[in-house]
């Protein structure tokens, strides 16, 4: 009897120990997960934080390395918009907004039809068309710039808005098409047929059923398209003029009072202005954006 009891106690003790080890391991694992998460947060956010802190720091303390905000001022934002050193940041913001809007709207209007066809219809050469569009999205910008540089010089388009918008469409349109194609493929198209059965015309079914469902996909694609156009630098750095340059070019060539001193605080202020709206947009629509970004690669 004693042997049996002791065996039972031993077993229970063994189980307890086992459970404890498992618990400890779990705790340890979740502890490691949290440490990793903190490292990721720091790595991703610290440089961005540093940009914002510097943007609000007095220019005399540019190289102050205290981690918390010190010598806080708004002067840098005034300097960023100041045009007396040959900077055109305010104008550049408007230019980027204008170029980005036109590129996004045009790409969406053209791309939505192509995406519908690729997601919904069956036809010859579908793979060829998809391959062509994907190839176009990976196309190196420098391969376009030389002929465009010469062409635009010859027809007097250098420094015009259309010289910036047209090449930009070539980068944004493929992205738009393949993002929307993936979204469209996931949509419950049966509803369209149900609506037809219930007596809607094809037009009504599209307007009343499909459009509201497709709106979020189109909106997400629009954000991605706009960000992509907003970031464009290569083409703009070669084909724009002072009057039409977008913000990326303005920031890259930002000049200060002294020619050999880089006005970092003002540049960080400009960078903050350019970035904050995007970051807010991205954080608000985080889920959708991630879905859109990864749509082309997996599924």
């Amino acid at each position: 009897m004693t042997a049996a009891t002791s065996a039972a106690t031993e077993l229970r003790a063994e189980q307890d120990r086992g459970r404890k080890v498992a618990q400890n391991r779990e705790k340890w694992a979740s502890g490691r997960t949290y440490i990793s998460a903190v490292v990721i947060l720091f790595w991703c956010l610290a440089p961005a934080y540093w940009m914002v802190v510097t943007a609000f720091r007095d220019v005399g303390y540019t190289y102050d390395t205290s981690i918390l905000p010190t010598h806080v001022t708004l002067d840098n934002f005034k300097t960023a918009f100041d045009t007396s050193f040959g900077n055109h940041f305010g104008q550049a913001l408007l230019n980027s907004l204008f170029i980005g809007t036109v590129v996004t709207v045009v790409s969406l209007i053209i791309g939505v039809f192509a995406a519908y066809a690729l997601a919904r219809l069956n036809f010859k050469f579908k793979y060829l068309v998809l391959g062509f569009i994907l190839g176009a999205s990976m196309f190196p910008g420098v391969a376009l710039i030389t002929p465009l540089f010469q062409l635009f010089t010859n027809i007097g388009w250098m420094g015009t808005y259309q010289a910036l918008i047209i090449p930009n469409i070539s980068f944004v349109l493929p992205l738009t098409v393949y993002t929307m194609t993936s979204f469209f493929r996931e949509m419950p198209w049966e509803l369209e047929e149900s609506a037809r059965v219930d007596g809607c015309t094809q037009g009504q079914a599209f307007r009343k059923v499909i459009m509201p469902l497709a709106a979020p996909a189109i909106f997400t694609t629009a954000i991605l398209a706009f960000i992509s156009s907003w970031n464009e630098f290569l083409i703009a750095s070669q084909l724009s003029s002072d009057a039409t340059q977008p913000v990326t070019v303005a920031i890259a060539s930002f000049a200060g009072a002294q020619p050999n001193q880089i006005p970092y605080t003002a540049i960080m202020a400009a960078g903050t202005i350019v970035t904050i709206p995007l970051v807010i947009l991205v954080l608000v629509f985080q889920r959708k954006i991630v879905a859109g970004l990864t749509a082309g690669a997996v599924k």
Binding site: C44, M51, T65, L121, L173, T181, I251, V290
Partner: protein, 345 residues
């Protein structure tokens, strides 16, 4: 996954021009495909036309230009020449680094000229590509694995990784230029006094670090999306069978995430091969950080046609790398795109 019906099913012969040979239904199916084909042609026309105008036309022009001589002063006679057909001389100028000699014929391009920089720029471009993509893959995989776990604050991490991605590259370059300034926070933090943009290796590492910071999130999100498609039951079954964590990673995670991973690596590789903004703004291409794209831009104002030859070479290099990826490494982008892999899930 939407359960699609009829001709839109992904299992239907998508590229099938081949008529379906079964009984009376086949005729209707044929008609259906023909009608859809007509519709598709109309819907696709704007995109195809737009891309032809903005991509295909410039490419053909660039290839034509690359076989033309640049107008300019003839070094032999000192007279202005109009240009004209050049044969392969522009390509020879880059690949064999031969420049026209004052006495006629060609000599090795003197050091410092753009013609002498082709191979070093190619080397730099590939060096950047291999190092950044390798680092991004490892870091991105690690981030994705962490983000795939369930823990409180996970959505915060997922939001945070989007921040570097959302910052325009031009701003990223200026930000890291400031961090790597001599008196900047970078040197202070690591207690070093490196002139980051002043010599070859620090300058290269500055570019690499900035690029990894900016683009790892994209990689991580693509891999995360791949990870999330692996059903949890597979892991549980393996656990029951006594597989260790490492075995589960090697035998389940890696093979199942491979298609997504390959596509992510392909996208990033092609992107890195055309790297321009970051080194152009961060180092100006100094200290051996000139990539092929920067070399093209530097050449444009010295002669369109030689620049066109170089951009064509760049294009061919990128095309070859993409081809190798798709053909030999199994990065099947189109299949992923069309959802042919959907059945596997």
């Amino acid at each position: 996954m939407a359960t699609e019906v009829g001709p839109t099913s992904v299992k239907a012969p998508a590229s099938g021009g081949a008529p379906i040979h079964h009984a009376p239904k086949g005729v209707g199916e044929d008609n259906r495909i023909a009608t859809q084909g007509r519709w598709a042609a109309w819907l696709l026309a704007p995109t195809i036309i737009a891309l032809s105008v903005v991509i295909v036309y410039p490419i053909i022009t660039a290839i034509v230009m690359s076989f033309q001589k640049d107008a300019g002063l003839d070094p032999a006679t000192g007279l202005f020449v109009e240009g004209g057909p050049a044969g392969f001389s522009n390509y020879i100028n880059w690949i064999f680094q031969q420049c026209p000699a004052p006495s006629g014929g060609t000599v090795d391009c003197p050091p410092g000229t753009l013609g002498a920089q082709f191979w070093s720029a190619t080397g730099t471009t590939f060096f950047f590509t291999i190092v950044t993509v390798a680092l991004e893959t490892v870091l991105g995989f690690w981030m994705a694995v962490i983000m795939a776990r369930a823990f409180r604050g996970r959505s915060l991490v997922r939001a945070a990784v989007l921040v570097p991605w959302a910052i325009p590259t031009a701003v990223t370059a200026k930000l890291w230029l400031f961090i790597f300034a001599f008196e900047g926070i970078g040197n202070k933090l690591f207690n070093t006094s490196i002139l980051w943009t002043g010599s070859e290796w620090p300058a290269r590492w500055a570019v690499i670090i900035a690029d990894v910071w900016k683009t790892t999130p994209f990689m991580a999100l693509l891999i995360l999306a791949g990870l999330q498609m692996i059903p949890a039951e597979v892991y549980e079954a393996a656990k029951v069978d006594g597989a260790t964590a490492w075995q589960r990673f090697r035998m389940i995670t890696l093979p199942l995430v491979k298609p997504a991973l390959m596509v992510a690596i392909l996208f990033r590789t092609l992107d890195a091969l055309r790297m321009f903004d970051l080194p152009y703004i961060l180092t100006g291409g100094a200290n051996n950080t000139t990539t092929l794209s920067i070399l093209v831009i530097n050449q444009i104002r010295q002669g369109f046609n030689a620049a066109a030859a170089l951009s064509t070479i760049t294009f061919i290099i990128i095309f070859l790398v993409a081809f190798i990826f798709v053909r030999f490494l199994g990065a099947n982008v189109v299949e992923q795109q069309t959802g042919a892999g959907k059945g596997k899930k």
